[in-house]
């Protein structure tokens, strides 16, 4: 009798641990979950707000017992979120940029999701790995699911290339020849950002990398890194490319719109800008040119994650999996402001290249403290561009910053 009582008590404890505040999942019943979930993120445009409201409405229809309290954060998002994390009062579901994800994962403010995904039957195989992997910690666990994704692709001014009598380049060698042909006609072929978040796509294309696959050591010395860097820097030195700053604009999109350069490497955010600011400029998207190692691009994404201190984890899980599931993401991306991060959600009109490029994209997500590495690279590259440094200097400074972060306790 006593044995049975002990077993019964154990079962009660186990069930209690699984329910309410957010444990596991064998007995998870979505229809019995209720309450209010606070959803936070930044909002880039009114259109984005409308698209999200459409997705939230879809969620409310499916789960009428769970109310969504949408609280967009204006201003400096990481700063606001840090204050909320510190106070142990984060929103239940919120955006996490892939660039900052490793830091927040390391700081222990995000809820790991793998156990719930397996016990509650959420299929993550439909996410493009280039996006999903951005939210994996060094422990191999997943701390967010990508709400959408953007890749870098090549946008070119069709009229300018036609007038110059050249085809859009498909390889790095062709990039050089197109640059030379346009220079001969007195035009600048490329507006290129002097920053790692563009150059790294070319480094991957030549077979180089920043980090080893397990992200535990640097891979800067491997073949491809120096070659791609030299190629990119030479485009400037040969007069085929200029930075947006040198062209007198604040970003590459404006250089394309003002026809100061014919080709740029950007993501889907360009479309709404061009539509609103330069509706009469004809441009087209094609995949990034191939390097010696094949196709490559960078994947930028933002997840929906759940706060470790969220008081409504079951309801948060429902919202998270709806918004990153097929139905929610379809509603969200139909708004035309974002591209799907799932293979089973159709690409919005005109976004085929940007969506299909996700299949060979490398995530823009590295290790905690990566902003120091990024800054070291960007500043060293600018120095080399302005004649006070070399490719070797860029490599040595980036490697030093990377090794410092890798060895940080």
């Amino acid at each position: 009798m006593r044995k049975w009582l002990l077993l019964a008590a154990s079962a009660v404890v186990a069930l209690t641990a699984c329910g309410g505040g957010g444990g596991g999942g064998g007995n998870f019943d979505a229809t019995k979950v209720s309450g209010t979930v606070v959803l936070s993120g930044w909002q880039a445009s009114p259109e984005e707000g409308q698209a999200l409201q459409a997705a939230i409405s879809g969620f409310q229809t499916k789960y009428p017992n769970v109310k969504v309290d949408y609280q967009p954060i204006s201003g400096d998002y990481p700063t606001s979120m840090v204050a909320k994390f510190s106070a142990h009062q984060p929103p239940d579901v919120f955006y996490v940029d892939s660039g900052v994800a490793p830091d927040w994962i390391q700081q222990g403010v995000l809820q790991p999701l793998d156990d719930w995904a397996s016990s509650r039957g959420f299929d993550t195989t439909q996410f493009y790995p280039g996006y999903l992997n951005a939210f994996k910690g060094t422990d191999g666990k997943t701390y967010g699911y990508p709400k959408d994704g953007n890749t870098l692709a090549m946008a070119y001014n069709t009229d300018m290339l036609t007038a110059a009598g050249v085809q859009p380049p498909t390889t790095y060698d062709e990039m050089t020849s197109v640059g030379a042909a346009m220079k001969a006609k007195g035009q600048i072929a490329y507006s290129l950002s002097p920053s790692l978040d563009r150059i790294l796509a070319f480094i991957y294309g030549d077979g180089g990398a920043l980090l080893s696959a397990d992200k535990k050591s640097d891979a800067i010395g491997q073949p491809g890194f120096k070659e791609a860097l030299t190629f990119y820097l030479n485009l400037f030195k040969q007069g085929y490319a200029k930075t947006p700053s040198q062209l007198g604009v604040d970003w590459n999109g404006k250089a394309l719109g003002e026809k100061k350069a014919a080709i740029i490497f950007e993501g889907g955010w360009l479309d709404s800008y061009m539509k609103g600011t330069f509706p009469n400029v004809n441009y087209k998207w094609v995949e990034m040119p191939k390097g010696s190692a094949g196709k490559s691009t960078l994947g930028f994404t933002v997840s929906y994650s759940i706060g470790k201190d969220s008081p409504h984890k079951d309801a948060a899980w429902l919202l998270l999996t709806y918004l990153t599931g097929k139905d929610g993401m379809t509603l969200w991306t139909q708004g035309g402001v974002a591209n799907p991060s799932r293979k089973d959600v159709p690409a919005p009109a005109g976004k085929d290249v940007l969506v299909s490029s996700a299949s060979f994209a490398h995530p823009w997500s590295f290790i905690p403290g990566f902003s120091k590495v990024n800054d070291a690279f960007n500043n060293a590259f600018t120095a080399a561009l302005q004649g006070s440094g070399s490719v070797d200097d860029i490599i040595s400074k980036t490697k030093a910053a990377l090794d410092q972060q890798l060895s940080a306790p």
Partner: protein, 312 residues
């Protein structure tokens, strides 16, 4: 309690003690807030600086390790150099400009309010808005280069090819010029207040003795402005050493081009809100405090205190 103290000293009568008590009672709330959020946070920051401290709090006691890392970090060295370079150049320029504007406005009778407001406007306008406008003006395709072309100077022939804010050799100097202009209005107000307290009889006596305007300025005005000099220089140096927003907006958080816009406070911001190392960031804050405090003590040594009463 304050009442008890004053009664105990015996030097104050009951009436004065009550008056003093009332005075302390009036400032009690702001004083407590000041002690908690200014003085208290200073000590708390010093405490945090001895820890590895993340978003959710302390993770390990590291002693002076954070300070050792700072001393070895080349980027922080660059940030200190940049901040000192900026301070050494911008302070004399904005002080001289502020003084010149104050003396000019002080001598204008018609439209004084208009000119005073005009000169002061950049100081109260949003620095972010002014910086964004400045970026447009100074961009390679901006107004400044167009004006240069109008007077026959081709910006492309310069070392920076007309990219004033994007080139490592000119970015900081450009921001310096911007801030000298925007801050000079505040300096003007400080000087104007002091200028108006100088009695006109002194100038009349000097004129009788045959002193010209230039002599009167250097022998009368400038020395009698000494309390204002101290105030202006101290606030200028503190403000300059804390320069952040313009560097952040012009150069982005990474301090580009080539760390030429990396200032001490921008470095601190990065450690806090991009690297989330609050212990390390606190140690940066303490180093910044020591530098500013030392600079203020040196100024106090050379320019004395802001003894307004003595000047009057």
């Amino acid at each position: 309690m304050a009442l008890a103290i004053f009664k105990g000293r015996g030097s104050l009568g009951t009436e004065r003690a009550q008056e003093a008590f009332a005075g302390y009672a009036f400032i009690a709330i702001p004083l407590v807030l000041f002690l908690i959020f200014n003085i208290g946070s200073l000590f708390y920051s010093a405490y945090i600086s001895l820890w590895r401290w993340g978003i959710l709090g302390p993770t390990a006691f590291v002693g002076i390790h954070n300070y050792q890392v700072i001393l070895k970090d080349e980027v922080f060295h660059t940030a200190i150099k940049n901040s000192i370079y900026y301070t050494v150049l911008v302070v004399p320029i904005q002080v001289a400009l502020g003084l010149a504007l104050a003396v000019t406005v002080n001598q204008i009778w018609r439209g004084r309010t208009f000119f005073r407001a005009s000169f002061y406007f950049p100081s109260i306008a949003s620095s972010a808005a002014i910086t964004v406008l400045f970026i447009y003006i100074m961009s390679a395709d901006g107004l400044f280069n167009h004006l240069l072309q109008q007077i026959g100077i081709n910006p492309l022939t310069f070392h920076n090819q007309g990219d004033w804010l994007g080139h490592q050799d000119t970015a900081m100097n450009s921001v310096l010029g911007l801030n000298a202009w925007t801050t000079s209005g505040t300096m003007m107000l400080f000087y104007l207040g002091q200028l108006q307290s100088i009695p006109t009889e002194v100038y009349e006596a000097a004129r009788v003795d045959g002193a010209g305007p230039w002599t009167a300025f250097w022998r009368i005005t400038f020395p009698l402005l000494r309390p204002a000099h101290y105030l202006v220089l101290t606030t200028s140096v503190i403000g300059a050493l804390q320069m952040f927003d313009q560097a952040f907006i012009v150069g982005s958080p990474d301090g580009n081009p080539n760390y030429s816009l990396m200032t001490m406070v921008l470095y601190l911001y990065n450690a806090t809100f991009r690297q989330f190392q609050f212990g390390y960031a606190s140690s940066v804050g303490i180093v910044l405090f020591v530098i500013i405090f030392t600079a203020t003590l040196i100024q106090r040594r050379f320019f004395g205190t802001a003894d307004w009463a003595a000047a009057r």
